[in-house]
């Protein structure tokens, strides 16, 4: 029996009269990666937000299981590691202070973000507002993996990263999958991704 599993069935979501997701389904288990592909505006980010518990679907259901136990929506939201382009951090706080805040909120030692920040080559003392778009993406990676989640949801995971950043991010993803985690990765282009166990193509 897999340690972790994520399944979604018949998910639909509309914004006013615009149907963004229409009865989409998929599943992924420990060690696997579920790839979501589709052009801009096809609903990839909406799907990931529904899977993270940040957006309630109009129809359908999401089932996340860890250690044989189904997670409630609130619990799922707090346990997933989500990387999304619209996640931002506090302008007035430095990289290390933002990660310290996240660590405290997640019940981790305040300094627990230091190792991942160093690995990602983040400038610890620089405030969020002074980070380049690539460094911001690296901080989003640090935020997503800081608490070692079983379920990693990646929306355009390598956006804005340079070669070095993408190499580190891919290494983090490989380690996550090797350690029994599972991932859902969404991208408008066909990215070479490891251990793809399922795929969903969305149309606009």
């Amino acid at each position: 029996m897999p340690v972790a599993r994520l399944a979604f069935e018949g998910l639909s979501r509309r914004f006013d009269r615009l149907v963004v997701l229409d009865r989409v389904s998929g599943k992924v288990e420990s060690g696997g990666l579920f790839a979501v592909r589709g052009p801009n505006g096809s609903g990839k980010s909406t799907l990931l937000r529904c899977l993270a518990g940040l957006l309630a679907p109009d129809r359908g259901r999401v089932v996340a299981v860890e250690d044989g136990r189904a997670l409630a929506n609130d619990e799922r939201r707090r346990r997933v590691g989500l990387l999304a382009p619209d996640i931002a951090f506090y302008d007035e706080l430095s990289v290390s202070e933002n990660l310290e805040l996240v660590a405290r909120l997640r019940g981790l030692p305040p300094a627990s973000g230091r190792a991942v920040a160093e690995r990602l080559g983040l400038p610890a003392a620089r405030p969020w507002r002074a980070l380049s778009s690539g460094m911001r993406q690296r901080l989003r990676w640090a935020f997503a993996v800081l608490h070692r989640p079983r379920l990693l949801l990646l929306d355009e995971p390598f956006q804005n990263l340079d070669d070095d950043g993408e190499r580190i991010a891919r290494a983090l993803l490989d380690e996550h999958l090797e350690n029994g985690g599972l991932a859902v990765a969404a991208s408008p282009v066909s990215l070479p991704l490891p251990r793809i166990s399922g795929e969903l193509r969305l149309d606009r």
Partner: protein
């Protein structure tokens, strides 16, 4: 409440103060607003020609009008800024809703306490007011400030939800804030003038308890995606 929950709430509180210390948005705006309002009011009304009783009536009402408007002016910083700058997603993903509410409530309460600490002595000096019962004045300001902080935090969470929230805000603000203002003014007036404030203070504490319980019950629903 677990230690983890307390640590989460403390982290939200500390984050807001750390950001405020660097940006100085709220404190500078609120203190400047308080000083300007009190100086203009004292120049317009003046202590001459009014009895101490009349002056304490005016000053109590003025002080609480000032605090209500200051709270309303600082209100968007509590949650709207988090939503607009997309940092709310970080809080939604990492913290329990009740801990977010507690942290924000503590931040607003501390901000109002700071404002009271600046505005009250200034109002007493400008209006040349004696204080009959300093202890009761502190209680009145504390209880009124706690109720105002809880009501403001809850209303701020509603306002931050965008469309349709303005109507709900207007419908809730009046019944939430008017009883508080009436009780807080009465308690402050009694503390300044030497009247019996016991009954009013009890009502104020009951108001605080009710609004805080309502806040902790309602906030997770308001905050939920």
């Amino acid at each position: 409440m677990s230690s983890g929950w307390t640590a989460e709430a403390a982290a939200v509180f500390a984050k807001d103060w750390r950001a405020e210390r660097r940006a100085r948005h709220a404190v500078a705006t609120l203190v400047l607003f308080a000083i300007t309002t009190l100086v203009i009011a004292s120049l317009a009304l003046g202590p001459i020609g009014a009895t101490p009783g009349e002056r304490s009536d005016v000053a109590s009402a003025l002080l609480w009008i000032l605090l209500l408007f200051a709270a309303a002016a600082g209100l968007p910083r509590v949650f709207v800024h988090e939503e607009e700058s997309h940092t709310a997603t970080v809080l939604r993903l990492a913290a329990r809703p009740s801990a977010v509410f507690a942290g924000k409530l503590a931040w607003v309460a501390s901000l109002l306490a700071l404002l009271e600490a600046v505005a009250t002595p200034l109002a007493l000096a400008l209006f040349d007011l004696p204080v009959a019962s300093p202890g009761r004045l502190v209680l009145a300001l504390g209880a009124g400030g706690a109720g105002l902080a809880a009501a403001t935090t809850l209303l701020a969470a509603i306002v931050a939800q965008g469309r349709g929230a303005t109507t709900l805000f207007a419908a809730l603000a009046f019944p939430l804030l008017v009883p508080l203002a009436v009780l807080a003014v009465a308690a402050t007036r009694a503390a300044l003038g030497g009247g019996d404030a016991g009954g009013v203070l009890v009502q104020l504490f009951l108001y605080d308890s009710t609004i805080m319980v309502a806040g902790f019950l309602l906030f997770p629903v308001i905050w939920a995606p």
